[in-house]
């Protein structure tokens, strides 16, 4: 994807920033925030106009999240001030921020899952009847009214746990709007929803913009920036780099601002010699989930798995790795049939599986980097007479982390404190320590900044070069197309086609994925 094409493809946004009143709805002036050992925000600025979408760009660890938490009343700045509608304000608590007109939609969606949509929206503000008891009918009515206004179609009585991520987001947005907020902060709202849902989300964002709300939009996705944002500000290492109109820059300009250097190649695919078939899957099925999946992966080959969210790509990976054993079908490694009943079997066969959800199935969050790296090798290698060979392990894991450029003060840092990109590198290190022959990567760069992303891409290429067979699942089509030798496309649990590198492009893949 050339940068020029992206800029051309950019839709002309409805409202240009200049047309708005020049008054800012939110100003952050010289805000400084220090945590023990880290200067998270170094005298940063931010100015948001009403009725605009303002994107915040920056690598993980650039300080975007900290800044947003300052604006949302979760952190207090050490220095500097926050102004709302020109007035300096002190936002001691999230509640104070909400009442002052700043609402934040957290990436991890802070909703009460066992409660209903209505209860979540009106918590602490429930309408009460003359006996002081909560008037559920009126509350439901208020929700319906709010949803009508926002063109959201959801059952107010539905329990949150029964809703999709996208619908939960709608609930959060409705809740934010119900506070009559002037500023709405959205932290990577599209990281876990499908394309159609993104389209709906963008409709709602444009509608909110028309109402004069200033929207702060944190994202890692460049195409979203061009599609939805009027302006953007870039942060790097806790410093404010600059603010620009998104119509005046190219993709490369932004990347340069974010990383402070040129990232010449996003998908550094190396041409490597492709060897013999290593993994072969025949008619693999998991009843009710996917059916009759067959493919080969050769040494040094990268096989991309493309498809829409819910097509069953991750399920196939989980089945090959023994997380949910197949109901029928066969798996061969180097021509020999293998029986993989659980992940331990898979690891013994030289497989490694980087799972989709870092927090849920990847990291041991309260443990340190060392322990996280070592967790996959403890049952076989590095164990002598039942005792773990700590010295060897520590040395190797530290070397790996260094090689992968994990940014951390020490190997004993708790993984929870690392940024997403660094967590992902630690998890990759975990699997490299097992010296895999077959590497399955499920969304290896989701929620990761550009710099780390290209490092991970380079690493995948290197591994392929060494003869590792790679299966890579990704929802980012440019990534799949850029990295894969062949692309297997899935739709509703079935393989709809396998494309070679030269026949795979956005159109051919999508026509198979969205049959």
């Amino acid at each position: 994807m050339s940068s020029a094409a992206v800029v051309e493809a950019m839709p002309t946004s409805g409202v240009s920033p200049q047309a708005q009143s020049s008054e800012y709805v939110l100003e952050v002036v010289d805000v400084r925030k220090e945590f023990p050992g880290v200067l998270a925000l170094d005298n940063v600025q931010l100015k948001i106009r009403p009725g605009t979408v303002h994107a915040l760009m920056g690598e993980n660890g650039a300080g975007k999240s900290t800044l947003m938490k300052v604006i949302a009343g979760i952190y207090q700045p050490d220095q500097g001030e926050v102004r709302l509608r020109g007035e300096p304000v002190t936002l001691e608590t999230p509640l104070k921020a909400q009442e002052s007109g700043v609402a934040m939609i957290h990436q991890e969606l802070l909703l009460m899952n066992s409660m209903t949509v209505s209860e979540n929206i009106w918590i602490r503000r429930e309408p009460r009847n003359s006996f002081g008891l909560i008037d559920h009918d009126r509350m439901r009515g208020m929700t319906v009214e709010l949803f009508d206004r926002l063109n959201i179609r959801l059952n107010p009585d539905a329990e949150i746990s029964t809703l999709s991520v996208a619908n939960r987001q709608m609930v959060e947005i409705a809740k934010a709007v119900s506070f009559n907020s002037d500023v709405l902060i959205m932290d990577e709202p599209t990281s876990a929803i499908t394309e159609t849902e993104v389209a709906h989300l963008f409709e709602i964002i444009r509608d909110l913009r028309k109402r004069g709300i200033g929207i702060v939009y944190i994202t890692h996705k460049m195409n979203e920036l061009f599609e939805i944002a009027d302006e953007f500000s870039v942060f790097r290492d806790g410093k404010y780099i600059g603010t620009h109109l998104s119509s005046e820059v190219t993709r490369d300009d932004i990347i340069k601002m974010m990383v402070g250097r040129e990232v010449s190649q996003m998908f550094p695919k190396e041409e490597v010699e492709i060897g013999d078939v290593l993994l072969s899957v025949k008619n693999l099925s998991l009843e009710g989930v996917f059916h009759d999946i067959s493919f080969d992966v050769r040494k040094g080959e990268i096989l991309g798995l493309a498809g829409l969210v819910g097509a069953g790509r991750s399920n196939v990976a989980e089945t090959i790795f023994g997380v949910t054993p197949a109901t029928s079908g066969q798996i061969f490694i180097e021509g020999e049939e293998v029986n993989i009943k659980n992940p331990h079997d898979a690891i013994r066969q030289g497989m490694a599986f980087l799972t989709e959800d870092r927090k849920e199935t990847g990291c041991f969050l309260p443990l340190d980097i060392q322990e996280n790296v070592q967790s996959a090798v403890l049952h076989d290698n590095y164990v002598n007479n039942g005792f773990v060979d700590h010295a060897a392990l520590e040395k190797e894991s530290a070397e790996l982390c260094k090689k992968l450029r994990v940014k951390t003060p020490s190997m004993h840092e708790v993984i929870e404190n690392l940024s997403g990109g660094n967590q992902q590198k630690v998890l990759i290190a975990r699997w490299l320590l097992t010296h895999p022959r077959i590497l399955i990567l499920d969304e290896p760069t989701r929620g990761i900044d550009v710099g780390a992303k290209s490092e991970i891409h380079a690493l995948i290429s290197q591994l392929a070069h060494k003869g590792v067979a790679v299966i890579m699942i990704s929802s980012e089509l440019p990534e799949v197309l850029g990295m894969s030798d062949r692309v297997l496309v899935m739709h509703e649990g079935r393989c709809t086609g396998i494309l070679d590198r030269d026949e795979a492009d956005q159109v051919s893949v999508m026509s198979l994925a969205a049959k």
């Binding site: 999230p94 009460m112 209860e119 999709s164 709906h200 049959k515």
Partner: protein, 348 residues
């Protein structure tokens, strides 16, 4: 990348059609279990004992009287569990409050009066002392949990041990009897139905509190997602202290009802009541992970436990077997609950 708008399910699909059909309250299935168990004992009764299990007013009365004390405790415990916590101290707090309150409920006619100057007091004095002691124990639980951030399991475990100690220390282990007529009425008035009336009153009040007041919503919110609750502006610490205090207060009330009914207070009483109360809540569908559960469910859960206990005795099943079966039933209840929640998640 915007070419793939079709095929995926539309973002928002829950609409009108669903709005009409209200889901059945989950209590119905628990009620069905209660009915099923009762019918089972009825049939087994005719088969093996030769008499009716249910058509026996005095048996029914004994069942509901026994259930009342556990039930009152279980209502407080339910609220604690909904916040995502646990209260292991109820049984010991029953003993402690019972002993303390009992010494203010004695008549001067009784030979072994603890405080000879404090006899023949109006019944509200021991009642307030008992409720106050219970509330204080609950407050300490809540304060420890919120201010020192120790897990509820540990805080209430400490209270469980200490409160039992206080109960023993208070009268050097000797039981206290000889209550005033007014105080004893708490357990015997209305032709001995008084405990049931108190239980039902408490159940109705807290059913309303949990469903129709902000206090109730906050309780659910904290258990469902403490982060979200905090961001919503709920003062979690304050609220948890209130919930644990209420749980202690209700435990105190249960203790008053218990000693008024059996007309004596002993340091060893209330043994394992905390587990019965937790079991009643869990059988009634209260989720131990917090955020889910209803008072009505707990009431039915307590009834199930009571019916089973009485049924086993009625069938002359050995007490040892009773405990074994009771344990199994609690575990089964949780398995069923997990299964139901699993299904709930799958249906998304």
């Amino acid at each position: 990348m915007t070419t793939l708008d079709n095929t995926v399910k539309p973002a928002a699909v829950d609409t009108g059609a669903e709005k009409q059909k209200k889901p059945l309250p989950p209590e119905l299935s628990i009620l069905a279990v209660l009915v099923g168990i009762s019918v089972m004992f009825e049939i087994l009764g005719w088969m093996f004992v030769g008499q009716s299990f249910l058509m026996n007013m005095s048996r029914i009365q004994i069942i509901v009287l026994q259930v009342s004390v556990i039930g009152i405790i279980a209502i407080g415990v339910t609220m604690v569990i909904i916040t995502g916590g646990i209260d292991l101290s109820s049984g010991s707090v029953v003993a402690m409050t019972a002993m303390i309150a009992a010494t203010f409920a004695q008549t001067s006619a009784w030979p072994k009066v603890i405080f000879p100057t404090l006899t023949d007091l109006p019944f509200v004095v021991p009642l307030i002392v008992g409720l106050g002691a219970g509330a204080l124990a609950g407050f300490i639980n809540g304060w420890l949990i919120t201010k020192t951030k120790i897990p509820p399991f540990i805080a209430t475990l400490g209270m469980m041990v200490s409160a039992r100690g206080i109960a023993r220390w208070y009268t050097d282990g000797s039981p206290v009897s000889g209550f005033t007529k007014d105080f004893a009425a708490l357990g015997n008035a209305l032709d001995r139905w008084m405990p049931v009336v108190i239980f039902l009153a408490v159940a109705v009040i807290f059913h309303i509190v949990m469903r129709y007041t902000r206090f109730g919503k906050f309780t659910y919110a904290i258990g469902a997602n403490p982060q979200a609750a905090r961001v919503s502006g709920i003062n979690i610490d304050m609220h948890l202290i209130k919930v644990y205090t209420i749980a202690g207060l209700l435990t105190g009330l249960a203790a008053m009802v218990a000693i008024a009914r059996i007309k004596t207070a002993q340091a060893g009483m209330g043994l394992m009541y905390e587990l019965d109360a937790i079991a009643a809540a869990v059988i009634g569908g209260v989720s131990l992970s917090g955020g889910r559960g209803r008072i009505a469910g707990t009431v039915i859960g307590a009834l199930i436990l009571g019916v089973m206990l009485s049924g086993f005795t009625f069938l002359r099943i050995d007490a040892y077997y009773q405990d074994i079966i009771k344990g199994a039933i609690i575990v089964v209840a949780v398995i069923v609950d997990q299964h139901r929640q699993g299904k709930l998640k799958k249906s998304t």
